[in-house]
């Protein structure tokens, strides 16, 4: 997907004016955070589990090469195959090779952010293979040719009416006067259409919430059961996953599962949790005949050991999006690529470059809410600041901003000059702002566009304090109207 991240400001402005989007974001803001808080409160060991989950991934990242080799050996032992892919193009090519070999014309797909990252759907279409998204939200945005706006709720930006309109527009073989304004009717229509696709698919393409080194399994978590029909019915199952998804053992996987759904949707567990291990064995009644894992790097090994190392702990639960006041204001599409929210603002510049995604780490108040809910305790605000440091060091802050900051810092580090100039400044502003506030002030346009600016009192605190009569600096004189 062509990133629109450089247009973040315009994207955000449009999103703020988009009423259906704002209504949808309002609902999200109320739902997910409340349910997460309730789920966390129900589980006394939740905070301890977060520590454990963090430690598991830290350990994996310290020993990633070893666990990847163990994992591959296990996959091969069960009759599967691992395809190591450095770039998105490598991964696309590997998937196409497997599909071609299977003679595939139709591929069902369960939700995968890596699938979005490598834009596999467009690529398969260009090569004459029909990709069919089977997660309801993904199916809707596939019909609309939109990227997901949320990592676990890809169509969260749409209203029910917008979905109904999409179905009426795209499902042209059905009665245009049918009643589909109710959620149930929409669900039934999607279910009916997808049932045939499930049965007819040649290849099933899934993501992976985790890869388990001990068993060579991949874990799939859904609420719709679509992943099970995606991998279980076709002859070939392709798992596409990035390499940091590895965990050492089944036990570790269950620890992470205990924080995943609680953080994401507030469920104790997602409705369906599936462990897939290799292709069908002789004694199995069903299952795929081939099992492939397309293991993607796409810039991640470069993050190891960098100041963004800890981002690789992310399990894509979406909690940071759900709790982010910026995300809740502008939604996911404003970020301009497949990821969004705080995790996106840290990850996207790593994957598509700081030049393209430079706005994202800056568009944050660093309020810290994301870190406070992240099940993997990723210090997201610190990493957003790291990106700003890189930008500043590369001179990308803009000449005016850099010069202004430099002048200001020069002043702040010279207290006597600072006192003198600030004294003059607040005296002048105090005189001008006799009504207590400014509606407009030169050089303060960004502030006064939205709000009034309180006027200073006429003299600084430090100056008043030191000029005031000793022994009565405690405010009583101020109360009586004392002015130096």
């Amino acid at each position: 997907m062509q990133p629109t991240s450089p247009n973040f400001k315009a994207n955000a402005k449009a999103a703020l004016a988009d009423r259906p989007l704002q209504a949808a974001l309002g609902k999200l803001a109320q739902g997910f955070p409340m349910r997460r808080a309730e789920a966390a409160a129900r589980l006394p060991e939740f905070e301890r589990l977060r520590d454990q989950a963090r430690d598991i991934k830290d350990h994996v990242l310290e020993n990633l090469d070893r666990y990847l080799e163990l994992y591959e050996a296990k996959v091969v032992e069960q009759g599967g195959q691992v395809h190591w892919c450095e770039t998105a193009a490598d991964a696309r090519a590997a998937i196409l090779r497997i599909c071609r070999k299977a003679g595939a014309i139709s591929v069902t797909k369960s939700k995968s952010m890596i699938g979005e990252e490598i834009a596999i759907n467009d690529f398969l279409e260009q090569n004459g293979i029909e990709p069919v998204e089977t997660d309801l939200g993904e199916y809707i945005i596939q019909l609309r040719r939109e990227p997901p706006s949320h990592i676990i709720a890809p169509a969260i930006h749409l209203s029910l009416d917008q979905v109904a309109d999409t179905f009426l527009e795209k499902h042209t073989d059905l009665d245009p006067n049918r009643a589909i304004r109710e959620p149930r009717a929409l669900l039934e229509e999607a279910r009916t259409r997808l049932r045939g696709k499930f049965l007819g698919a040649d290849v099933g393409l899934t993501g992976a919430n985790m890869l388990i080194a001990e068993t060579g399994s991949n874990v799939l978590v859904t609420n719709e059961g679509n992943a099970d029909l995606t991998y279980g019915l076709p002859k070939v199952h392709i798992v596409i996953a990035s390499l940091e998804k590895i965990v050492p053992t089944l036990e570790d996987a269950t620890t992470i599962l205990r924080v995943l759904a609680r953080s994401a949707t507030g469920q104790d567990m997602s409705v369906y949790t599936t462990f897939c291990t290799g292709p069908k064995r002789p004694q199995d009644l069903d299952g795929p005949e081939e099992y492939h894992v397309v293991l993607l790097d796409n810039g991640r090994t470069k993050m190891i050991g960098s100041e963004f190392h800890e981002m690789l702990r992310c399990i894509r639960c979406g909690a940071c999006l759900n709790h982010c006041p910026i995300y809740k204001s502008v939604g996911g599409h404003a970020y301009g690529w497949v990821y969004s929210g705080p995790m996106g603002a840290v990850l996207i510049p790593n994957l598509i470059g700081m030049e393209t995604a430079g706005h994202l780490p800056n568009a944050s108040t660093l309020c810290g809410k994301c870190e406070s809910v992240c099940p993997m305790r990723i210090p997201l605000p610190r990493m957003l600041r790291r990106w700003r440091q890189r930008q500043f060091a590369a001179g990308r802050g803009g000449f005016v901003a850099k010069t202004a900051l430099g002048l200001w810092a020069g002043l702040v580090t010279r207290p006597k000059l600072y006192r003198f100039l600030m004294g003059l400044g607040v005296a002048a502003l105090g005189q001008l702002g006799s009504k207590g506030k400014f509606k407009w002030l030169p050089l303060a346009g960004g502030w006064t566009q939205v709000r009034d600016l309180a006027a200073p009192a006429g003299d600084t605190f430090v100056a008043q304090y030191h000029k005031g009569p000793r022994g009565d600096q405690s405010g009583d004189l101020i109360r009586k109207g004392w002015r130096p």
Binding site: A12, S329, C367, W408, L411, P415, V462
Partner: protein
Amino acid sequence: MNDPTQPNVGLFATCLVDLMRPQVGFAAVKLLEAAGCRVSVPEAQTCCGQPAYNSGDEPDSIAIAKQVIETFSEFDYIVVPSGSCGGMIKRHYPEMFEHDSGWLAKATALAAKTHELLSFLTDVRNYSPTGVSYAGRATYHDSCSSLREMQVKAQPRKLLGAVAGLTIAEGNEAETCCGFGGLFCVKYPDISESMVDAKIDDIVKTGADTLLAGDMGCLMNISGRLQRRGIAVRARHAAEVLAGMGDLPAIGEPAKGRD
């Protein structure tokens, strides 16, 4: 005045209090003295450097941090009427000197004795105001840094609970960012506007006539937007009310005798 058993407190007023709202500084002095502290206000203080730090300007933030560390190291405690500037000193100064062991030791020592004003009054000095009143219904905004970097939540409510005539009406979104974010609010004014409007809607829902908080950044942002929208909720730093200075003009109101 020079009781050696009293802790020697350096008041870091913060640049916003110093330049925009001196009475918060005086309120802080009054409260600290009432809580049994000797208070000094070093003239060499300017700003904690947060605008530079959050803009990615490491060299300037380090220069500013060194100056703050040198100015305040002599005191038993450094008290700051802001969770944001307090958090800068307590959490971020040590981060800055990760690779400079000499300065790291100094930064860590300063961080250990740095406190946000309201939590210092309750947690360190076990102080509770007496004989203070404020007629009104106030809602309290938890600034992000106070809440998440300085663990300030119950302390201001406990202190304000001792003020006669004052009721606190909690907002559902008391812990949600107001959209200030330092330079964020001028770099991304559209998003900031949406955030401060959501904050204001929540304040209005509480039926409060007064907004209290412990950070001037948030207070100037929210009060400036309240005034722009013509909503009659007055904004004050909590220290002003606690120090019995709640009758002074609210933020953005004309000084008495000048209107």
